[in-house]
Symmetry: C2
Subunit: 137 residues, 2 copies
Amino acid sequence: MATTKKRSECPISCSLDVWGDKWSLLIIRDLMILKQCTYGDFLKSDEKIATNILAARLLMLEENGIISKSNHPDSKAKVLYKLTLKGIDLLPLMIEINLWADKYSILPADRKSILEEIKKDKEGFIKNAKSELKKVI
Amino acid sequence: MATTKKRSECPISCSLDVWGDKWSLLIIRDLMILKQCTYGDFLKSDEKIATNILAARLLMLEENGIISKSNHPDSKAKVLYKLTLKGIDLLPLMIEINLWADKYSILPADRKSILEEIKKDKEGFIKNAKSELKKVI
DNA sequence: ATTTGTACTTGCAAAACGCAAGCAAATTTA
DNA sequence: TAAATTTGCTTGCGTTTTGCAAGTACAAAT
């Protein structure tokens, strides 16, 4: 897979060139929630991504420095995917998506309770969540 | 165009179902910068969206309550597209994308200067920009 | 030694994309 | 006032991407 050509110099456009498809942010979401995922973990998510699409997205996200692969401590057959610093820095963006969705649609109860926590102290939540994610890098 | 089926109840996934493709956020970007756009204005953007894709996205964004169409004051041949409140509320997200891009890539000079302003007072910038956008609704 | 688990790859049909051309109504120009 | 241009799309069609199912290679468990 060659490097995708960028459509313009616009930061929004360039960002979308990296993670602006239907699946990448869901992969990143899983990593933000679970901290570390195996290939199989991603497949378990509700959206049911196809295995070939998952493989392609993981490769592209890795090529773009958003995620990294590492050995699973328990087994040589497993692979651990994690967010890089660059990936972790997408957390504020992810939170804004949640806040927007919260304003215009009905969220599942578990998400709703986290959102309430975020709304009380957004900066504090981000700082804490980022530091949790950095622990496993 | 029928209503797109949602892949899960996840707020991230549902949001992506609405604007999570390669073009929608660029259309929204144009509207945030220009406040109001004609069909032709969108076509002028650097990324060179195809006319059929543009028409499809505008319809889908309108169906999802992100943008609205109105008559152009100068001409019956022209159409004015604007952001709705729901669309305007994507501004914080758009800003976070810019901040992320600023951190990990080189921005064009004009964007860079706005970003510096945003970094000084993010909340103030958002409040002001939102109110500017609401003026033309 | 055989079965199961894990991380992918491959084949193929269906859908989406992207380019070019076409079109109807409004507007401008001659 | 007739012709040309602008504007906002639509249509056809070849190319690319997606998505489902099946297959494969290696590790691990039985």
